[in-house]
Symmetry: C2
Subunit: 358 residues, 2 copies
Amino acid sequence: MELLKNTLKNIQDVNAEFYVIAQRHLDNLTKPPGSLGRLEEFAKRLVAISEGKNPPLDKKVIFTFAGDHGVTEEGVSAYPKEVTPQMVLNFLRGGAGINVLARHAGAEVVVVDIGVDYDFSSTGAEHAIPLQIRKIMRGTRNMTKGPAMSGDEAVQCIETGIELAGKYAKKGYRLFGTGEMGIGNTTPASAVASVLTGRSVSEVTGKGTGISEESLENKIQVIEAALSLNRPDPNNAIDVLAKVGGTEIGGIAGIVLGAAANKVPVVIDGFISTAGALIAYCLEPKSKDYMFAAHNSVEIGHSVMLKKMGMRPILDLDLRLGEGTGTALAMLIIEGGLKIYKEMATFGEAGVSGGIVN
Amino acid sequence: MELLKNTLKNIQDVNAEFYVIAQRHLDNLTKPPGSLGRLEEFAKRLVAISEGKNPPLDKKVIFTFAGDHGVTEEGVSAYPKEVTPQMVLNFLRGGAGINVLARHAGAEVVVVDIGVDYDFSSTGAEHAIPLQIRKIMRGTRNMTKGPAMSGDEAVQCIETGIELAGKYAKKGYRLFGTGEMGIGNTTPASAVASVLTGRSVSEVTGKGTGISEESLENKIQVIEAALSLNRPDPNNAIDVLAKVGGTEIGGIAGIVLGAAANKVPVVIDGFISTAGALIAYCLEPKSKDYMFAAHNSVEIGHSVMLKKMGMRPILDLDLRLGEGTGTALAMLIIEGGLKIYKEMATFGEAGVSGGIVN
């Protein structure tokens, strides 16, 4: 709890002075003012977060948290829970979507077992990517029968993310991203979204990886039952995370808070990642200035949470895989914005008439 | 005219058989079916265009056509026309937005003087990027006083694009992109958009690089005057290009047709590029299957033209610079889709349970 408390205390507003400095530089580049739209916004925010140090973004890391969910007993997912460890092993071998897109973006992937119901230490195999074993529990408990986690467990999940963020900030990584894997995890994400945005369960619950209409009805009822049994306090994000959240959602909240405390920008993936980001935002709204929303997911609850935080997603590609796949692609766009800032010629350098004559 | 005629004859439908083959492979990758959304669509189309050869996209080229416009005499732009050659020199030195983003995307930039009112051969300077001098004319004529080009000149512009496309297809480039530079060129692009979509001038005319409300009124009147004087035939895209278009718009139409005839996918940048693409589409609608719309420009006429062709843009970043900047970023996303197709593990390879159980 100390680590979380201190981290929250250390999160400061981004220094607004640097927005002005960055804008002045952008307006001096050989293009009509503002004509690179959101790329210019991204650049400005990166400059402000780094306080003008404009670090190269060649050290990028995506944290992909994996966890299981007791609520899968209620038939909320299209896949059996065994797929969670199977996919973790796929990540470690480099064959999953996140591996492909992270390589494309030049980002490292850090796979974290924060709550998988499987003992990876016994596999003994050598993998292309090392697994970080930070298991808080072997899957959450079934939230239709009681809280998914204790308050202590929820805090431990967040602190795991904070620790990792601190470690990678110290190693010199200057852009973080989030991702996750966990069969059933759109269910806790919808529960978190409903409580923290005040919207009904049906407004924030979708088909996840691809369940039927009938299964969707069941999923909504399962979430409603969990909420009415556990009564999470909407003004206490840790209570919400504990009662109806998940280990990976907590880990992601921790990455976001740790990123903000270390002044490192962080790219938030899709629906589940945004549930984690929303928990971070509720704990400390200043963390928002360090976040970039990677994309607009197909999951209907995603845009509701982004709107709650006032965030506009970078991409809109009908993605609904998670893992950090949208994060990887968004990193490429954000990096494009910073390169514009750092590499374009100014009007003076290029001998281009910059005077606006209208 | 022969080259154009033969090219149009050579454009074939994309072989639909390969969509089925590609879909089968995508559904066997370790992810829920369709969960990578538009990335999967992009991959499928690339596979179908290449007829299953799945070429690496490491040879990518963006053609940035530059031309001047007689209509700038009417005060339609925020910048003096001298900026066109100044920006061409900026491209050649590698300091412009397109240079930065093309480097980021790993794409080559080919700068083509197709109609700039400046003699680059006299500069004698060595540049980082060679200039292709394919000048059809030194700027178009003022379309408020007569046709911007003759029919022959318009065809020569298109054939210039076709020739370049053929040359780079032979050199092994497997992804083309378009871009442009030409002070005043949102004016002919709006004129082309109005005629070929049947929408009023005010519905497809915006502020370009950033003119005032008053200047926008003038710009609309200028375009209306040009259309009522020249009466371009909406059923004859070459007549439209000649009377109210521009050299760079013709060059882009040629790149699109040449790409389609050579079975090379082509990424269309923003408003002006899409006016060129729309001319290509009107000449041969089959060319559409080879096109990717890079982004949704701030210019209001852009989405009107995309809708006319039934195309959904890849990015939405409030860009309005042109040059091919949106193209470069979109290439990164498209390439991500192809890498997913080529590099992801299948369920069998990864030992992941693929059965859907809902």
